[in-house]
Amino acid sequence: MLFVLIVLPLMMAGLMFILPSKRARISLLVLTALFHLSCVVCFWKIAPQTQWHGFLSLDVLGLLILSIISVLFVVVSFYLIAYLKGEENRSTRFFIACLLVFLSAMTLVTVSRHLGLLWIAIEATTLFSAILINFHRTPRGIEATWKFLLICSVGIAMALLGTLFLAVAATNIKSLLLEDLLSNAPALIESWLKLSVIFLLIGYGTKMGLVPMHSWKPDTYGEAPGPVGALMSGALTSCAFLAILRVGQICHQADQMAFFQSITLLLGMLSLFVASVFILGQTDFKRMLGYSSIEHMGILVLGVGLGGAGFYGSLYHMLNNAFAKGLMFLVAGNLYRYYRNSKAHHIQGVLHSYPQTGILLLVGFLCVTGFPPFGTFFSELLILNAAVTGKHYIVAFLYVLFLGIIFIGMSKIVLKMAFGEPQDKPADDQYRESISMVVPLVILGLIGLLLGIFIPSYLSEVLQRASGFLGGQ
């Protein structure tokens, strides 16, 4: 089953080059996404079998992230129906094929149990998302792609080195399968393990966009089309976070959690700091979203670094962030469609010109900045609680301070866009708000809201069990 889930999108991607009409390609994309989602829903009921000598298997952590990927992908593919209609002059063939390969690679990340395979999958996501970024074919887009590719590749190379170091550390285990590593963790050689943890954290941290390996993020998110941004900031970063959690899992079993947590804490604080510095005074909406993503990635690793309830908070925050960011990027996609720009000073009075998008922009903003009753509020609260109960008062103070500054910067730009007299009336009716460009966003907003007011017991149980992997209760 897992194998099918990986290979089917690949096959569909191949099919894209054969299919003649654009409409057929898009409907195939949507069908594949729906199939993927239905498979994932089934996995919640019936756990899939382990395949390929234990190389492929799905645990709760993987399931959680796979679900994020799947839901986001379905929403984005629905969104693309309308989005691609507006992009007449671009070839969709290659774009959709890459999207499908991207999906396949991300699925592989969540189900791979071998660390080498995990690395391969993550590198594959990098390569194919790089192709997706430059959809609009602008010089800026090329620059962003180049930076993304180079920095992430170097980062991923570090992760490869880290994986090799881990293999050295696991000399006595003679395997890089997660099951073997976890069950024999005490046999890992400590010095090599530490070395490998440092390299892995830097490597996958680059992919996640943690400071100081974050530098590609604002550029890339600033230039990527909205739907691609949604996938990258929602799904791709979660994949990278999964890789880091796997490292954490090993550290937990090998009794090196303190070592691991001290580094993630540092990374988290640095990320929050830099995000707050750059969100303040930002003039570009999408770049700001990039920094906001850095902020949230920082919060995720901060939660891991704090431990205790922080693990749960972190995983929960990952869910919230994925959908909130997805929503924001899709809004950015809409705005790009209407204004052909993402500079805040070109956009004013969205609420009056495009009321539905405007409301969604505000909802997304509230969701991202952690207003109740959106889930983000609770997860940020949980992480703050982890800091307070763990007596990390300075961390708690800085966390709150940075969140405050980020809020100041972010509200300035978002509110300026949402309110005010529209600068000029939209020239033609070509870009009216269509239902298909609003409904996917509404769905994401509703998910964000639901995650706050009501967590189903099975989801909470999965979160509990997943945080148990790292030593949380």
Partner: protein, 214 residues
């Protein structure tokens, strides 16, 4: 056999130094190809006594991919770029050579502090791999031309490959091949992007690619 192995490893490091010292793009790519080929021979030298089909495949694929396909491809990428020289590197040639000397010394110190859990064929392997990684990194940091940076990344990968050779017996073939494939596709995509850069900007000087900033 170990003497040969040591000689080859020294050759790898020396080729890296050549790359850093060279200012012509074509030469750099050629030297990279040479280094990859030399690297491809190392598994044979290392596992001389117990050679397996698994090892042969890996080294042959690596040799072909990195030694021939990639240089060919990189040449394609720079074909219609008029500039063939690394004119104004961010850090001068002299200083980078000097730095790489330090880095080589550093990698020897680092590897002396890391005790490898089981005996290896040559105690040069780890330092050589570290220094190659470092030199790749140095190329990435100090050079302005996009193509040199791609080469730098590949040199880094070469260093990692060298380290991976130590574990060649234990890693499954699938994983090895996957890694090689990824690296290859990576270089391919980078090459395409370099091509795009030269199309759009009429240069491949990445120090000018600074529109996206705060």
């Amino acid at each position: 056999m170990e003497a040969w192995l040591d000689m080859t490893l020294v050759l790898v490091v020396l080729l890296g130094l050549f790359m850093i010292g060279s200012n012509r793009l074509g030469a750099i790519i050629q030297i990279f190809g040479l280094q990859s080929v030399v690297l491809g021979t190392i598994p044979f030298l290392m596992y001389f006594s117990k050679i397996e089909i698994h090892i042969v495949i890996v080294s042959l694929v690596a040799m072909v991919l990195k030694g021939f396909l990639m240089p060919y491809f990189l040449f394609w990428a720079i074909r219609h770029v008029s500039i063939r020289r690394e004119v104004s590197p961010l850090i001068g040639f002299g200083s980078t050579l000097f730095l790489s000397g330090f880095l080589i010394a550093g990698s020897f110190i680092l590897s002396s502090r890391l005790i490898f859990p089981y005996p290896v064929m040559s105690d040069f392997i780890i330092p050589a791999s570290f220094s190659t990684i470092m030199m790749g990194f140095l190329l990435l940091i100090s050079r302005a031309k996009a193509i040199t940076q791609v080469v730098g990344y590949l040199v880094m990968e070469n260093g990692i490959f060298l380290f991976a050779l130590l574990l060649l017996e234990k890693t499954p073939l699938l994983v090895e091949m996957g890694i090689l494939l990824d690296v290859f596709v990576g270089a391919l995509v980078m090459g395409i992007v370099v091509n795009h850069i030269s199309d759009h900007f009429e240069h491949t000087d990445t120090s000018h690619l600074t529109v996206l900033r705060d």
